[in-house]
Symmetry: D2
Subunit: 489 residues, 4 copies
């Protein structure tokens, strides 16, 4: 099966140029300078085309299918490196399965997710990974990989880290400076995991909030009777994200400088730590998420009554009385923020978010965005906050390079997997729980009007979305073992 | 004429992957996933090949010439955006003509230079550009463009800036904070030029040294009898480069933030200014040059007797008692230094450098490096200071994007000019005045042993260097009008 | 003549303690732990007292006069190191003579001024000093000293600097980075003056605004027809004060680190430069003035019509949309701002400020505050912005130490000049042109209500203000030759 | 009993001036401008003098004793706010009792110590204080106060803090970020203690080293067989002091900004945190100790064999390959380091330091310096590192103000305790275990030659040291309850 995507503008981190793309089977066979001569006589059903010899010296192509991308962008499929399908949390679980969540991702132009397998404190690392493989196997519409959440670092866990890197294609490990008793690692444990990563080349991913201090503030708030959702935000101040970010950065230095990647960075204070480390030339990286770019403590988390519950995530939405969001957009411009991921972790209002009515600390933490990331960040291009190139780089190319998926993922290049999105800048999208494809009874993005639209999505050469239809299937997506980071300096 | 470069590893800023490159005429027709099927029966003389239908679904190519790049890197031809061919200076002129200098560049894997046309204080801008066109026309072995040196900003010069941007393909203007009476602009003039650039989108290039302070120090040194070459360095301390860099950065803010590019950055103090501005998200950029990465005040400029004269350039070589060079390498890693150029400005010892015997201030300023940049920076890859990708990015891709040459130059992509270098990492090169191709009776790099070698060079599809032979010719190179910077945030 | 000030709280930079002060003639004879036994039988007319032997082991005092300071602060007389009496400016002259201005100072609790003798570009330094001595001699109500304004640094001026330090008690020299053609020194001249100061120990005072850039902005504003007073502020942006401050700081490093004192610091950008230099341990200092703490670009300089003219000074009042004033108060707390002076330079509206109607650049620059500094800064104590100790330190002790007047001035200690103010924190003061003592037909401080009041003022042991009466006289004040700075690290 | 100290130069933080001091009983009665007239006819035995009426208007004094300080400095007695007399540590106890240690302090010109009462994890705060009062009562040669070490913050401890502030004159509480299981508080506990201090006005003192990370490094070193004393230093890297300092600074912000005082600051990284907080105007303070100014990891802790054990303290001596010591001296100049204390905690080699032979982690932590602080810091004056004024300020005035002892201690002023040292800058002192007065069988300062000598020491008006003799007695020293910090901004 050969597919020619023709007439479009290929966009990558370096620029945008008119380029035709020939897909052969599951991978990209060639990039071609247009116009690519095609023999119209050979065109058959379903837009197939056979290119005859052109006589111009150009390579000739015969394609079974031609996708006309005229007036549209051709970009690598999105890579969302932070999702939590079916994550158990506080007695319930994230509402998207790998099946529903991966299909929703595909709808939104994301063709690879890297989800988090979980070891909780006291559990065995390898068993956690096995359990997550079981959840995902045969369910996914798109390709997927796993990071490993380390809920407690001991001798066995350290050995497991090496084993996962060597044998399982899991090369990144998330540690928590928050959630004592659940995921929390103390500074000694963090140091040891970082030392191990420095040796193996693995990446340490960090949830950087000072959970011990936060838990004091939470208990004090509840004791005062401050139980509304906004207190979730007020008890997790930006300074405590900044502090933890600084601490992790120093511990990494002491540990021998493993690659260090901060997840869901939300606060200016934390960004300042990243900027300083990066100016110093260190392998310190960070992602942010759409919620921190668009939503705020006052407007969303502080919505009347229990409305704010739908926006409860950790770190919390930040105040709009300080320039957190502006700083994050600037970080995306400067590459101090290298990646946009979603931290997709949806919980329905009904029976899930409601668990925290009267006690914000019991509201399941998470927002569902896996379907909308590409659209939401494209708005930054429309409003001039970032360039077209950075859109592609932060949503696809860098996440792939950061987590050892390149050049298989994150780029449209000869030999790469044919994970390709045709994006129409002239169409529009309206986001609503009524129309989205995530398994979620509300949307944090309800009513957002997007300039731009995911037109066609290919996953490993197969069209999974086109003409507003889903052509994918559970089980098309395969597990992708990953190598070490390719984004190091 | 079709050429297939096969078997090599294509290296760009994002990564290195096995990719075959098909050149058709002067441009790249396609990038192809190897192996590319070629019909051996069709192979004729001179390595030409006709590819038959492969039956594998791959595009089939027929090529007139096949270049075997097995075991080698295929990279975009180098772009050196800072050269001074035939530059008049202190009663003499740089010893390389456009003919000799551009041929030497080609030998070294550089396929585009951007030279500086000159308006001196009191002269007319357009006449300067005309004069430089006259010097270069029909002489160059490779393509070339021009920046404009503004030796004094007045109403006419400001109008000329707009005209050069609109009509002449000259979109970058160098100002001097040093050399009072020759090139110097005062802060008011700088502000006005920056305002104009902010409107037109042109880039301001800055020679950032506080020349008024330096001239006091020079006069004091000469008055004390300190006349040896090392005093060239001692009278131009790093702090005065840092100061001027800071000042220009602030003036650009006041002027409305035109793109601001610092040439030949040499000092940690200046780098700190760049880092701060870039962390703040501003369009502030800088280049450094090989001499600041490898040579030092003490070892080279302070060589016994008059030996140091061969290393006299401005800014001067910096002390090795402070980490200037380490900081510059770090800057290249972090992209605080975006470009490596040469500031190629060769003067022979005989009759040129000798003019300054007994008075360092009369030594013509300049070092000749246009032939060695690609090799010298590749050593940073060999020693682990930068990645393979950054080598290509700093020497080819970013300079092309920075100065409006992309995607015609700086990248190997469908539709781009076929300026391509095959680089052999397993061969070696020894630098010597006895063997180099620059018109220069000595070498600042004498005896440098390079791990790596320029193997084959194509300029717009023509092989100009291969098998240790020069196949180019004066006049092959064409003037390339440039657009606005494509490296903005 | 012996005076005992009894019952008060002596306030100095280290703290506030109940202490009695015995003045003998022109100086302080003793500080005494209260209660000081005084023989009531010996008390004569005018509050005089003779203390008999107390039998308690305490020293016994007999005083001709007793000042009851119960419930009041006893502080060293204020030292205002930045005044411009009778300064010629743009065809007119500051409206306060040394007679009127020094009397107004005394009214306000200031007992020493250091005024600026002026050498304009092209004039002879020593002649300027002579002229200023002639203006002041026999006129002043309080003691006075001189700084020297250097309006152009050449060989003769450099020699004059040394001579003034050695023979004239003038140990500080003000240079201008603004006002080209009038006072402006270029960077080479500044460097030379700094080098000379580094040798002699003199202090360089700097007016730090980039005048070359400002003059471009001024010309452009006038050309656009933007002639109102607010454009005085808009054409002198904070960034250009920050730039000049940074430049001067670097030049001082290159010159060998003379003491460097920035006058009238007004902008956060400039304060940041000071903070960095001071954290690095350098002898870099700054003053601010009340106008930058209380008045703003929008509210005052931007007052309707020509009203803003009364607030035209350089640097200009700063915007209240950025935290300049808050930052300055913080600087006073941290000692990054060591001194509060007035930059007293009054011009009447009538016939003076009016010269700039229709052209803001012709409005004489200056605000009159010499009478109100102690009161205005005391409000910072009342509102909790600074401590009681810092009020005394910034207004009296540090300026005396900074400019070589200590311990003669700036402290109440045995042997010091008896320049003493009794300040009543429970009384109040209303500022108005109708009641002030400056020769000025308006007040920038009209209607300011002060919590606190200057109660009694002694100058060298003589009561010059008490009971709301002026008891001083022209000619009481003497010229005070100054030594080198005593505030160095 | 009246004592007149005459002929000397009184030195305080603001300057040095010839001043006579009259002591009456336990306090200073007056400061007098010399010459003070004394009636020689009245002079009796033991240098007593009765001053007759002078006829000059000067106060007349009759003194029982006259101390001739001609050619000498008169300074406030030293205040050492960090000592550990009889501190239990690892099965042994610091070798100085309150009797021996306080006498040694007096010998060295220190007239007040503030020692640390201890609550260990699991103990009751008030019982700790009672125990320490019992150790000190009736033993001390000089006055003393207590800080409280909090070895674990819980509800009872928080209440105890308030009680100690309100009733016990204990206004400062030391927390540990190191020593898990002994003194360690986690971040939640620290936050709560800081919140309480923010309410009461108490000062939080912090031992800032990341003990959880350190304990991992220590265990790894011992497991590797790295048991020599130098590994005490190598397992406590400067970065981990910097990290903890930063963390505590952020926690204090979150807690409402109580006064925060870092003890025994030793590393440039930590100093940087202090500088930043102080530039921001926060009430963040730090002390350093002589060992960090003079001794190094390589030269002392790394001495051959077990020699390094005598220098084992925490934080450890720092490397001399980085400018830690230079930075600390600079910090003393700039007041980023406000205080010099000793962290006096002596352990003999015999039977104490020897406990750690073969396992550096078992070496009792501490160095004995209480006798030498004034001398050692005076060397900084001699070598030009700090001014004469800063010597007095950092060793006496600021510690007294910082910890609520002012103006009773730390200053020579009317009404203050007559704790006075006459210091002879022209005599010399040689430090040796053979001659020192601490109960310690070695000296970290063996062989140090001091330019300067403690000549005479008065404690509350009594001469305790003079003519090389000790005239003090155990029990003269009294407990001094302290108020809140008087050094706030
Ligand atoms: Zn997380
Ligand atoms: Zn997450
Ligand atoms: Zn240049
Ligand atoms: Zn150049
Ligand atoms: Zn001025
Ligand atoms: Zn002035
Ligand atoms: Zn400690
Ligand atoms: Zn201690």
């Amino acid at each position: 099966m050969r597919t020619l995507i023709t007439g479009g503008t290929l966009v990558g981190p370096l620029g945008a140029t008119p380029t035709d793309v020939l897909v052969d089977g599951e991978t990209v066979a060639a990039l071609l300078a247009p116009p690519v001569p095609i023999d119209p006589s050979a065109r058959g059903a379903a837009g197939a085309a056979t290119a005859a010899a052109s006589g111009t010296g150009r390579p000739v192509v015969d394609a079974d299918r031609v996708i006309d991308a005229t007036g549209k962008y051709v970009i690598p499929g999105g890579v969302d490196v932070h999702t939590h399908m079916e994550l158990p949390f506080g007695g319930t679980a994230a509402s998207d399965t790998f099946a529903t969540g991966s299909a929703a991702a595909a709808w939104g132009g994301t063709t690879t997710i890297v989800d988090f397998a979980v070891q909780r404190t006291g559990e065995v690392v390898e068993e956690g990974l096995t359990a997550w493989h079981a959840k995902a196997a045969g369910q996914c519409a798109i390709d997927y990989g796993f990071h490993m959440i380390m809920g407690g670092v001991d001798e066995a866990a350290l050995k497991a880290m090496d084993s996962l890197v060597a044998h399982e294609g899991v090369t990144s490990f998330k540690l928590f400076m928050a959630y004592p008793g659940v995921f929390f690692s103390d500074d000694g444990q963090i140091l040891r995991a970082m030392q191990r990563a420095a040796e193996s080349g693995a990446t340490i991913m960090m949830h950087a909030e000072n959970g011990l201090a936060i838990d004091v503030l939470v208990a004090q708030a509840l004791a005062r009777g401050d139980t509304d959702p906004i207190h979730h935000g007020l008890t997790r101040p930006p300074a405590l994200e900044g502090e933890a970010t600084h601490r992790a950065s120093v511990l990494a230095q002491v540990a021998g400088n493993p690659p260090l990647y901060f997840v869901h960075l939300s606060a200016s204070e934390a960004l300042g730590v990243i900027s300083a480390a990066r100016t110093a030339g260190r392998n310190v990286f960070a992602e942010t998420c759409p919620q921190y770019l668009y939503l705020s403590l006052e407007e969303h988390l502080g919505a009347p009554g229990f409305e704010g519950a739908r926006y409860v995530a950790s770190p919390p939405l930040r105040t709009n009385t300080a320039p957190h969001a502006d700083d994050l957009w600037r970080g995306l411009r400067t590459d101090d923020l290298a990646v946009v991921s979603t931290d997709h972790c949806p919980f329905c209002l009904k029976e899930q978010k409601e668990l925290g009515r009267g006690d914000f600390s019991k509201i399941p933490n998470g927002i569902g965005t896996v379907e909308h990331r590409i659209d939401l960040i494209y708005q930054g291009v429309v409003t001039g906050k970032i360039s077209l190139q950075r859109w592609v780089e932060t949503c696809a190319t860098t996440p792939a390079r950061m987590f050892g998926l390149y050049p298989r993922k994150g780029v449209v290049a000869p030999g790469s997997d044919a994970d390709i999105v045709v994006y129409d800048p002239n169409a529009t999208t309206t986001i609503s729980a009524a129309t989205h494809h995530m398994n979620l009874d509300h949307s944090a993005w309800e009513g957002f009007e997007i300039a731009g639209k995911v037109d066609t999505v290919l996953s490993r050469g197969s069209v999974v979305v086109s003409d507003g239809q889903f052509h994918g299937r559970a089980g098309h997506g395969r597990y992708v073992p990953r190598g070490l980071s390719q984004y190091l300096r």
